[in-house]
Symmetry: C2
Subunit: 285 residues, 2 copies
DNA sequence: TTGCTCCTCACGTCACGTGAGGTGGC
DNA sequence: TTGCTCCTCACGTCACGTGAGGTGGC
């Protein structure tokens, strides 16, 4: 019989860990003195401990380890053990992939920091690249003569109240933020833009009179920044987002969107607008 | 001014996270109503939140993030921020390396499991590969005619009491477990073995009369199993360890050791002995 | 009045590390 | 008596998730 200290030394674990394994029933000492509480282990238990240490080293949780150890003696454990091993392995792979992506972003961040130190007068944009989930939207689409707030503004202005009225008329009152999408219009002289404006509606919303309901696909990687205040200044934020994307090694890839988070009854100075530009990793970046 | 719910929606974080950031002082709302406790945020604070989310996505802890955000306004923060970023990046790299090693061991473990299912009668050895730290030992060395317990036993038997007596005579009484090392003896007919036996002594122990004190180097990767019981059965455990190493894609690489954990005054049936064999990853494994 | 948003505690997470305070055998 | 090992609580870790129980304005 070995004392807890001897057993811990041989197994290269701490005494505290052995007490913990006892407490959760993972590895009970062969004997516990009923008066002093002293734990005693047998030499045979070393192999159990070695297995626990090995499995823990693979990243398994103690409950999974308990299942693996019970294998062969407990039918319920037998059934779940393969699944538990598989999901632990999956978690490990996901963790590696996530950490690698993190490291790439970290290095991009450090390069940007360097750039700012060298050239501290450059416009500091707070932007990042993230995944955008699919959204269902109820919209109106109209042509405009070109990009830029001067062309877009007068066209899109009336579209939001119209879309909101149509939604209310159709009995939908719990719609989300306003959204705008800009696509090149190839039917005209080539400079035209198709302006789509409307509101996010709950998933599963069907057709609505006077509105086009469609599912905007999710975007795996989109450069996103926030524009604050008057809509007249939005061109500058778009330029800054484009510049930021290029500087950080992202290539523009797809149709951009604007999401107006703030209700229309607030003063424009308080508006908060997401600018969303799909991107892909640029070659050589 | 934005309510906590609006601010959370725009920033794609939970309300609970904003309360947490308020609590730890990372991001205080622009205003907190003194009577109701309601938090209000300004549109300008969005950029702060975006930065926090971005840095958290790089794996930084909230205290590190606080430091980065204070940069430029707080000299103490300025000094530590580069170090904090560096150590966060280092941690990320280490985590990736550790997870990759884990994954490799996981796959080796799964292959072994497969093998056991196919051939459940095979001897099940509980062994694993781990790092062995350097140890200081006080030893005696003598030649034996060959490997195996029949050759080694009679030679090594008297060496432990002799070494222990010499240690006590030299005034060292707090020595650790007994240890044995076996090296091929190239001075004879080629079958001979140099048997080194002694005890682990505290780091820094100097020369001792009648004993050779030396530093055993650490081993980055060693296959280790535990032999339980009589020393006469130790050959079988060694064979099993060699077989296990080969089956799991490890090539033997270096001089093996035995570590006798159990004090000599216990019956041999209770002895616990580590068998340690340095290995390297076999080609093609 | 019903819904909705907001509030403040406060426990739970995971596998122990780390004292505090005390006991038993050499 | 001094050291050493052992014991049982019980708090702390990290960044929140998740109720419980209650309030304020439409």
């Amino acid at each position: 019989m070995l004392s807890i200290g001897e057993f811990a030394t041989i197994g290269r674990v701490t005494v505290r860990m052995l007490r913990h394994y006892d407490e959760i029933g993972l590895l009970r000492p062969a004997r516990t003195d009923p008066f002093t509480g002293y734990r005693s282990y047998t030499a045979e238990q070393i192999s159990q401990l070695v297995r626990i240490v090995e499995l823990r080293g693979l990243g398994l949780g103690l409950d999974d380890i308990a299942c693996v150890l019970r294998e062969g003696t407990d039918e319920a454990a037998d059934e779940s053990v393969d699944g538990r091993l598989q999901s632990a392995r999956d978690a490990l792979e996901r963790s590696i992939a996530a950490d690698r992506a993190r490291l790439a972003r970290f290095d991009a961040y450090l390069r940007r920091r360097e750039g700012e130190e060298v050239m501290p007068t450059s416009t500091t944009v707070t932007a990042d690249v993230r995944r955008i989930d699919p959204q269902r939207v109820a919209t109106i689409t109209r042509p405009a003569a070109g990009f830029g707030n001067a062309n877009i503004g007068p066209v899109i202005g009336p579209m939001f109240p119209e879309a909101a009225d149509a939604l209310v008329a159709a009995g939908v009152s719990d719609f989300g933020p306003a959204i705008a999408i800009y696509e090149a219009d190839e039917s005209g002289n080539g400079d035209g833009v198709l302006v789509t404006a409307g509101f996010v509606v709950p998933a599963g919303t069907g057709d609505l009179e006077g509105l086009t309901v469609r599912e905007l696909p999710g975007i795996p990687e989109a450069a996103v920044t926030v524009h604050r205040g008057e809509v007249t200044g939005i061109d500058g934020s778009w330029s800054a987002l484009m510049a930021w994307s290029e500087e950080n090694g992202w290539a523009l890839d797809g149709v951009c969107r604007e999401i107006y988070w703030t209700p229309g009854d607030r003063p424009q100075a308080e508006w908060v607008t997401d600018l969303v530009q799909p991107v892909t990793r640029a070659e050589g970046a």
